[in-house]
């Protein structure tokens, strides 16, 4: 189990010391493959019964296993896509060998910090992991490529806002520690495995206070409105493979922290308190992002606001609660982790081809790049929640949870916002996909690779796999994912 944490660090060190920019990408890919091999038996074991290591400091149950498998899957996809992305950046003169090896070194450190979050048994170690993800990913946003003032601006905003937010989460963790030491002394007082057993005995007033701080703190990191301001900047300025990781899984690791807290706060305070707060945050997120999606003229920012919308839906799912709500939220995490990275990968290629992130400058992607256009189209249909794609299924599940609870007002608002998002996403990407390429106002970038090389083939392959799973999940949730999510729902103490 410790091997899972060691492999990314070793890979990071090795990658940082390789000077050849063409070799380092494949070395990093080998590192991620080794990680997959090492993690596979641990994850399958954790889905059945909890496994732990190092004197209970690390412990994995079904929920950790589920989130960790998403982290590893997206790391693999991102490592594969990075090869062709960085080759292009390198050929276009946007980065140098030093930038390339720093990028890969930081990428693997970033993967390490996210794995640490999912494995931590102690709530304070989880906090340390989440704070570390901020620090490493800020470097990835701001320093990977030289001479990009906007990226520095985005990274500065990101690290300041998220550190302030996360500091509040630490205060919440302190308060939770105070509540638990009051009933059981200091031994293992922040261990998730221990807290789960005594959660109903904790002082409800103290736990309410702790939860408010944690929700604001981790909510900042998870991109819940109104504390989302860093997110569109960071996601639009980061290199595309990093945007995919940030959006697809980093937000979810922060939300994973909130879910852990919900399940230890609920037994003492009842589900209404946490549920209502999550529903309010969720509705604000979906509402604010729907308006910004509608007026957005930059497609990477449009995708970033769409992430806020989907985090809002996940928050609504957990807020509505009950087995159906949690099931919908967890399924939505998976669906979003497939669709959004696909779109960021595709948008990276579009950006490389057209040299602009402005929707008005991109026309006729379907005619000029048929494969990429089709993949983008599938991703856009999925993100907007069109049936029969995967996100429709999980959104519908969340909606059903709300209807079951009889929260008609929240359900109605949610539907209105989702309709606005549907129009916004499809009209934005529709303009880019259709039309004639000649209409685009900028000349195609001269550096765009014409022929296909190994890196390009691998990147296309991973995008096709993601698009295929999007379609598959829309028709039927495979039995293995179904049982895993049901096990996670049980771990969260919802019956």
């Amino acid at each position: 189990m410790i091997a899972i944490l060691v492999i990314p660090i070793v890979t990071a060190i090795v990658c940082y010391n390789i000077w050849n920019p063409r070799v380092v990408g494949y070395v990093s890919l080998a590192g991620v493959v080794a990680l997959v091999v090492a993690a596979f038996p641990v994850i399958t074991a954790s889905l059945v019964s909890p496994v732990s290591a190092l004197n209970e400091a690390f412990s994995m149950d079904a929920l950790s296993g589920y989130v960790m498998s998403l982290v590893i899957f997206l790391s693999l996809a991102s490592a594969i896509y990075s090869i062709s992305y960085l080759e292009h950046e390198f050929e276009a003169g946007l980065t140098n060998p030093r930038g390339v090896r720093t990028y890969y070194g930081l990428l693997h450190l970033f993967i390490f910090t996210m794995l640490l979050v999912t494995m931590a048994n102690n709530l304070a170690i989880m906090w340390i992991g989440i704070e570390a993800t901020t620090i490493v990913s800020a470097l990835l946003i701001g320093l990977g490529f030289h001479k990009r003032p906007l990226a520095i601006e985005a990274a500065w905003k990101y690290i300041i806002l998220c550190t302030v937010g996360i500091t509040f989460a630490l205060l919440g963790t302190f308060i939770a520690y105070y509540a638990s030491t009051a009933i059981m002394g200091t031994e293992g007082a922040l261990n998730w495995t221990v807290l789960q057993g005594v959660a109903h005995k904790l002082n409800p007033a103290t736990m309410k206070l702790a939860f408010v701080f944690v929700l604001v703190g981790y909510g900042t990191k998870a991109g819940l409105a109104p504390v989302h301001n860093w997110l569109p900047d960071a996601h639009s300025q980061a290199p595309s493979p990093i945007s995919a990781l940030l959006s697809g899984i980093l937000l979810n690791t922060a939300f994973y922290g909130i879910m852990r807290f919900v399940s230890i706060v609920q037994p003492s305070t009842g589900s209404a308190f946490t549920g209502n707060l999550l529903i309010i945050f969720g509705l604000i997120s979906v509402g604010i992002s729907s308006i910004f999606i509608l007026v957005q003229d930059n497609y990477k920012r449009l995708l970033a606001y769409s992430s806020i919308e989907h985090m809002g839906i996940i928050s609504l799912g957990v807020g509505f609660g009950g087995p159906v709500g949690i099931y919908g939220a967890l399924l939505h995490i998976l669906n979003h982790a497939l669709s959004k990275p696909l779109m960021f990968f595709a948008s990276g290629k579009i950006q490389a081809r057209f040299g602009s992130t402005n929707i008005a400058n991109v026309r006729g992607v379907l005619t000029s790049m048929p494969l990429l256009g089709t993949l983008t189209f599938i991703g856009a249909l999925s993100l907007s929640g069109t049936p029969p794609f995967n996100i429709f299924v999980s959104e519908f599940t969340v909606l059903k949870a709300g209807v079951d609870r009889g929260l008609w007002f929240a359900v109605a608002l949610f539907l209105v916002f989702v309709v606005i998002v549907f129009y916004g996403v499809l009209s934005g990407f529709g303009k880019m996909l259709f039309g004639r390429p000649e209409e685009s106002t900028v000349a195609p970038s001269a550096h765009y690779p014409q022929g296909l090389n190994l890196g390009g083939v691998l990147a296309n392959g991973v995008m096709i796999v993601m698009a295929a799973s999007i379609i598959l999940l829309g028709f039927k949730v495979p039995a293995i994912i179904d049982t895993t999510i049901k096990a996670c729902v049980l771990v969260l103490g919802v019956k």
Binding site: E131, G142, I152, T186, L190, A205
Partner: protein, 219 residues
């Protein structure tokens, strides 16, 4: 020693010192003074932990005091000083509001904290005042962060906020286990170093360390 600490209410004096160093930020005009105030604040925090360690007699508190002194009291101030010299900043803070107004607002913040926490939802471990003071320090540093426009003042505001947070943590629980404490301090150290690097980068990219320049990304 213990009687002496209790008789002269040393803990309250040190806590008030921590609050006062935070309040003085409102009056300073140069970044060097900010760094000095932060250094004193951190030394007081380390001293407070050491005093509590004497009272309670637990080894992990002595270690925590030493760690706090080493990172917050010595390493971070040295690093900040280097950054200030390297950036050759104009030394003027240029707040958005006048210093006297800012001081008055800080006073109101402290009063609000004392009024709202008067009933004492928490039975604090070692002092009646520590929790109120820590929340007041957190609020004042947030206020400093939103009213000053130099990149480094934001970093120092954040550091003050973390000191307030650690004080809150100690007043609630007598601190976390040592390993976790170490992890948190390491994270913060890394965070400050990276913020310093970015502050230098902002200065280079925008030819100024004023955060007014960072207004391109919105909407």
């Amino acid at each position: 020693m213990k009687n002496w600490i209790e008789a002269f209410s040393v803990i309250d004096f040190i806590s008030i010192g921590i609050l006062l160093t935070a309040v003085t930020l409102n009056a300073f005009k140069s970044i060097e003074s900010y760094v000095k105030a932060y250094t004193i604040n951190s030394w007081l925090l380390a001293g407070l932990i050491a005093v509590v360690a004497v009272l309670v007699g637990e080894t992990h508190l002595y270690i925590a005091a030493l760690l706090t002194l080493a990172t917050k009291g010595i390493l971070i101030p040295l690093f900040l000083r280097r950054i200030v010299r390297r950036m050759r900043v104009t030394h003027e803070i240029q707040p958005y509001i006048s210093n006297s107004l800012s001081l008055a607002i800080s006073g109101i913040l402290v009063a609000v904290v004392y009024a709202s926490l008067k009933d004492g939802i928490f039975v604090t471990g070692f002092s009646r005042n520590a929790l109120q003071i820590s929340i007041a320090v957190i609020l004042i540093s947030l206020f400093i962060m939103i009213t000053r426009k130099k990149a480094l003042t934001l970093v120092i505001g954040l550091l003050f906020m973390e000191n307030g947070l650690f004080l809150a943590g100690f007043s609630l629980t007598f601190g976390m286990p040592t390993m976790i404490e170490l992890g948190m301090l390491f994270d913060m150290l890394m965070g400050v170093i990276i913020l310093g690097i970015f502050a230098v980068q902002i200065k280079r990219a925008f030819a100024s360390a004023d955060l007014d320049q960072l207004t391109v990304l919105k909407g």
